[in-house]
């Protein structure tokens, strides 16, 4: 499902070069739940965004579902992302001016899919947000915001779910609830790559990889 071959990512800040990924190799099968753990600044987010087609690697190739992601044009890559990949972030990144329902329907609007309102409502119900559909993100608890972000990620029926520290801002109880939803997506055949520095994430994974100083080890 996901194959990274010799992926290097170098950030340049003036004359300084920061090697966020150093010749990273990683292979993930379809339906696999892989957690990548590592300390802050180890390159976890860079790895995730590189897999998600949002961060062009300096060297190496990234394949998702057999497609060389960075061989696609910018427009084709955006379409690929909209159709195949779901993102869940630590900071939720819900649009503050849209309601919960509006945020959840956003991927469908971007991809110009026909109305997914009923599907969105039933998913929100399933995630315990049935009575929060008209609320703005600022009116939700952090746990509710993360659940809304997760529903948004699932609305495009992604084959691959990429999660960047999804429980990083949650209390243990809400973190457990969110991880249960990830587990449910996995049990339904979804592939997950989740980066975290928390032990809890590893409990749900089929496999745990570590990242340190830009190098991925299994």
């Amino acid at each position: 499902m996901v194959r990274l071959a010799h992926v290097t990512k170098v950030y340049r800040r003036g004359k300084e070069e920061v090697h966020a990924l150093k010749c990273a190799d990683l292979a993930i099968r379809q339906g696999e739940f892989v957690t990548v753990v590592g300390p802050s600044g180890s390159g976890k987010s860079t790895l995730l965004l590189t897999i998600g087609g949002m961060l062009h690697p300096t060297q190496g190739t990234v394949e998702v579902g057999g497609t060389d992601v960075y061989a696609l044009s910018g427009r084709a890559r955006a379409k690929f992302r909209a159709e195949r990949i779901g993102f869940v972030f630590q900071m939720f990144h819900l649009l503050p001016y849209l309601t919960v329902l509006g945020n959840v329907l956003l991927p469908g609007l971007i991809a110009a899919r026909k109305s997914q309102r009923q599907e969105a409502l039933s998913l929100l119900e399933h995630f315990g947000l049935g009575d929060r559909t008209r609320h703005k993100p600022s009116e939700l608890s952090t746990g509710q915001r993360q659940r809304a972000a997760m529903v948004r990620a699932l609305m495009s029926h992604p084959a691959l779910l990429l999660a960047d520290e999804p429980t990083g801002n949650l209390d243990p109880e809400n973190a457990r609830v969110i991880m249960d939803y990830f587990g449910e997506f996995h049990q339904n055949g979804g592939t997950i790559v989740l980066v975290s520095h928390e032990r809890l994430a590893g409990e749900y994974a089929d496999r745990v990889a570590t990242i340190e100083d830009g190098r991925v080890r299994e």
């Binding site: 427009r75 379409k79 900071m91 849209l98 971007i110 991809a111």
Partner: protein, 381 residues
Amino acid sequence: MSALPLILQEIWHRKLDFLLGLLAVTITVALFVALLTMSGASDRETKRLMRDMGFNLLIVPKDTDMEDFWARDFAQEEMPEDYVHRLAGSGDIHADHYVAILQKKIEWRGRQILLTGWLPEVPSARRTREKSFMGLGVPPGRACVGYELARGLNIQRGDEIELHGKSLLVDAVLAEAGSKDDIRLYTHLHDAQEILNKPGKINMIRALGCLCGQGGRLWSIRPQIAEVLPDTRVTEFRSIAVARAETRRMVERQAVLILSTVAIACVIWVAVLSLLNVWERRQEIGILRALGAGSGKIAVLFLGRAVSVGLGGAVLGFIIGTGLALHFGPTIFKVTAAAIKPVYALMAQSLVAAPLVALLASLLPTVVAVTQDPAVTIMEE
């Protein structure tokens, strides 16, 4: 992606940002609309005031000794009265308000007076609309007497006077002018010709050079008149002509300066607000990218917002600008107050120009928005 609901919801969410942008465009449009609505009245008023300064062109027979002319106040040489009709009949000369004059200094009741025979203005062929006539319209058999002359000879309005055998009724005694006009006696041209025994003759034509652009200045009028009347010479009363030209140019320059300053300030204002909006929404741009939105879709969100600011500002600006013009215009331009009316064409122009300006002002911030690295903004936790 239907962008409109997203644009409207974002505007509603960041009302203050939107209102500040709207304010900038509204002020600019209102100022443009107010000034342009009043510009017709202003132009007419300026023309009227400038015209009241008098004629600025003098046409005399070619052989006139100008030194002698300025010493005597009239040309010794004469030319046919028909010349004024030939000038007025030519549509190619940038001048208007032609008046044929026969003027001589004569002795009357033991005094030196200036007898000025004045033919009522001959309408010009180049007139495109009705204009009021300039100068004194003295009917035949009547006379207008200068202030000092009337005072010295105790002449009153309604008196009958006899001038070299010609009986004339005093139509008016003129107010003190503080110039040679105070010893002048105006009659109809044909009466003067009879008094001076110069039938069909005049010795000067006065006219008003039109100052549409530079078309009315002497260097361009002289050859035009020479083509119609080769045996005449043209002199410009420079002080009047320059005052007219400078006043009109100054008014135009002031308007251009005010409007361009306001327009530039508006563009900078809207651009800065747009840039702040992009900065505030950089994580949103990142998430939209993550959800699959391309550069075009993101640009539509930002440019659509700019167009909304422009459209709102155009409508409000037109209403406020027109209101200002209708309220204050008649106080400023008393003579041509009735000419100040709403110019609905400005509404259409505002609806095109204001969104376009707002769009241009937001272009750079939008480029910043679509080119910034989404990964970097998303990682800014």
